[in-house]
């Protein structure tokens, strides 16, 4: 009988510095290729520290090596750095980590046949990258528009990818606080919508980022005529086991790890503590 709590081994084959606090780890799975959908996540064990959930940021077409983009967290309650992330940041290529997954429901890619609007904030772009890479390669949707915002230019993740994607899809980037050399748009990500008019004919929207950003983006999308069953958000809650058993990610009748993390706004709009 399989024990779903035992991690399998993976080797860190590459570490990319995305920003001063975010690194992308490329992991080669020892037990063979992993089949996953964009939007799913893995539970990553740093031996000697603990286990934490991270969204897969690489393309599902790459099954041997998966990527996770990790932000070094600082816990303002304990005044200590996140246990798992700070241990992970000391690892080097060749080091082994533990993997469980893929978990979660992933994005409803079967619904992506018309226009797709993707809105990301900060490290939220991590799970959206997997989705964008998939949609671009799969080629079934008519148009992809990606809106991305971060606090400062230095906090923009996947800078190289953004340049590549501009050639194939609509990419609009903004920062809250410009710094030297920034010539692009300034303002929160919802201000980009004024620049690029959205209308309800753009079938489906995906939003991922900090809770406050999701809240205001969803509001704006509804104003633009999207219906709540066509807006999908990636909810963030404390997750531990990843398989709906430990109870921590329970919200309403859902478990974020099992029934999410991707939810349509229709599913969650009536839950009182949602944002």
């Amino acid at each position: 009988m399989r024990n779903p709590y035992i991690p399998s081994m993976a080797e860190i084959v590459n570490i990319e510095d995305e920003t001063p606090t975010i690194k992308t780890f490329a992991l080669k799975l020892k037990d063979g290729p992993m089949d996953f959908k964009p939007g799913q996540f893995i539970e990553l064990t740093v031996f000697g520290a603990g286990e934490a959930p991270f969204a897969i940021s690489s393309s599902p077409f790459e099954k041997e090596i998966i990527q996770v983009s990790v932000m070094q967290t600082f816990n303002p309650v304990s005044l200590r750095k996140g246990r798992v992330t700070s241990a992970l940041f000391t690892k080097k290529p060749g080091d082994l980590v533990g993997i469980r997954g893929p978990y979660g429901n992933g994005y409803p890619i079967e619904k992506c046949i018309g226009d797709v609007t993707i809105v990301g904030g900060g490290i939220g772009a991590s799970t959206l990258r997997s989705l964008i890479l998939y949609l671009m390669r799969e080629g079934k949707c008519r148009k992809i528009t990606f809106f991305y915002g971060a606090r400062t230019p230095a906090d923009l993740v996947f800078k190289k990818d953004l340049e590549e994607w501009k050639k194939l899809i609509d990419v609009h980037v903004t920062v809250d606080n410009p710094q030297d050399g920034w010539t692009g748009h300034v303002g929160v990500v919802t201000t980009l919508f004024d620049k690029v008019p959205l209308d309800f004919s753009r079938d489906i929207a995906f939003v991922c980022g900090p809770p406050i950003m999701i809240k205001f983006t969803v509001k704006k999308l509804l104003e633009c005529g999207f219906t709540s069953d066509k807006i999908f958000v990636s909810l963030e809650r404390f997750m531990q086991c990843g398989i709906g058993k430990c109870g921590h990610c329970n919200i309403g009748k859902y478990f974020v790890c099992k029934d999410g993390p991707i939810f349509s706004y229709e599913q969650i709009k009536d839950i009182p503590e949602i944002f």
Partner: protein, 684 residues
Amino acid sequence: MSRKAVPTVCPYCGVGCGIWLQVENGRLIGVTPRSSHEISRGMLCVKGWTSHEFVMSAERLTKPLIKRNGKFEEISWDEALKIVAGKLKEYKETYGPEAIGILSSAKCTNEENYLVMKFARAVLGTNNIDHCARLCHASTVVGLMKTFGSGAATNSVNELENSDCILVTGSNTTEEHPIIAHYIIKAKDKGAKLIVVDPRFIPLAQIADFYLRQKPGTDVAWLNGFMNVILEEGLEDKRFIQERTEGFEELERTVRKYTPEYVEKITGIPKESLIAAAKTFALAERAAIVYAMGITQHTTGVDNVISIANLAMLTGNIGRESTGVFPLRGQSNVQGACDMGALPDFYSGYQRVEDPDVRAKFERAWGVNLPPTPGLTVLEMMDKALEGKLKAIYIIGENPMLSDPDISHTEKALKNLEFLVVQDIFLTETAQLADIVLPATSFAEKDGTITNTDRLVQRIRKAIEPIGESKPDWQILCELAKEMGAQGFDYTSPAEIMEEIASLTPIYGGIDYERLEKGGLRWPCPSKEHPGTPYLHKEKFTRGKGKFIGVEFKEPAELPNEEYPFTLTTGRIGFHYHTGTMTRRTTLLDREVPTGYVEINPADAKKLNIRDGEVVVVSSPRGEIKVKAFVTERVTEGVIFIPFHFSECPANCLTNLALDPLAKIPEFKACAAKVEKVSIKKGG
């Protein structure tokens, strides 16, 4: 797979809740409450529920350690005991017994505390023995002795559920003695009136009928105010005063000037509230007073306790069921440590060292001559260590490096010693300064008895084998005594030690392990047939008549001034316990409150431009700490509160050494401090 459940008592606070330790294959895997326990009745607080975890921590001390070249090395027990015995003997012979001090532990059992004081007196020849009660309820011992003749809680905790009025002051009962708060809540549900007087808006104040918020350190004033109102309204218990007390005239004279207007000026309590609360208290048929550190930890601690006793006697609330005075003892066995005489001026059972007849009795029993003059208290030992007069200290199960006031003073003192031995279960901040560290066992690895806050003596039972090479404290003491050539330490079990205690200690006279199998016994229990005493002073006070003592209000030693405009008060929280040695090694507790904070009123925070969660610098004339701000209405303007559990932001870095002149207890609850933003501190 071997499973068993061992009935014992929670190792944390003075309530003494009954627990089953769940053991599987020789390891502790959990705790369940004992539903038939007379006090806890199947309930526990979160610390009790998780009290198994720290026992199994990998950080437990497993071998004796010696410090060589600034680093600890493991040595054998033989070596360690030889070194300690040798050193103690050397100091005794070279400098005299007065150059050695012992700090006993309020977490150790009664048997162990008895052995510690026997060791100090019979083997070392010194009365320099004390323990942490000095820091918490020394005022109670002195104050209630003077007024009632006995320094312990007068009634049993369960009786609170039938009180008609409960006055809770200086006790955050919900967080510090949760199961006692249960009885208060139960009384309230049954219709009792609850009066809470506290400078902080504690959880119990949320359900109180009267919440009075006084300035820290003004307790004598409002207590005298209560009594003034009661006399004004003619609500005092005249019969009780006449038949059972003496000194009433002195009290009446003193409280005459503490009118509600005068009290309002001193304390800040609106006079209408004072009058209403006082009347309610006096009109109740059965009223009880519950108090803790807010009353005792002041330079006027003894006066505060005396005022509480005055109030209880004035209203005839002593010597009857569901009335009385409840000093809530903090540690699981601080009552027992006091009972067993781990004090510089008492043998076990509060028999005075200076009394020649008492001393002769112990000399006969132990076969040695005993020192006649009372010894040094905890803080006096630190002073003498700093002066170089105290050469060696043997600390058992205490962590003064975090729990003493003005810890930089303690640090200098301990570092100035020639020899420091620390016996503990973890390498605490104090153990890190030691020359020799001896690994002791926790409550789950030994047998013994402990005494809770309402005088209930209970059995703790061994559930698992000692971790590593750790040994029960009583065994270590016996081996050490024998190594020093002493007689009378040949006990083979704690039960034997209790037999000796019972023979020499009248209040424990009827306590033995066989009787304790059927349940706890409340002292005084002078003989094998005596059933124990639920409440004290029934027909007469322990001293005969209760004594009224008029006390005047005095301000705290250190008041806020221009440079240090805040009153800093320190204390505890529900998720952690004292210096955190046990709770910070428990997953749930450490997760809930991972580090310390300073409670600051929103108006004050706004003035200083401090956000909730921001790290700030709090300083006092003794030192400064960086700590997270918690902006809350719990404290009033001008007052800040810091829990003292956290070694990375130790509140006791800031507290002062001012002591109550009689009890020698420090004023943890009031000193002057200032709060600054980190940026200002750096720039300024």
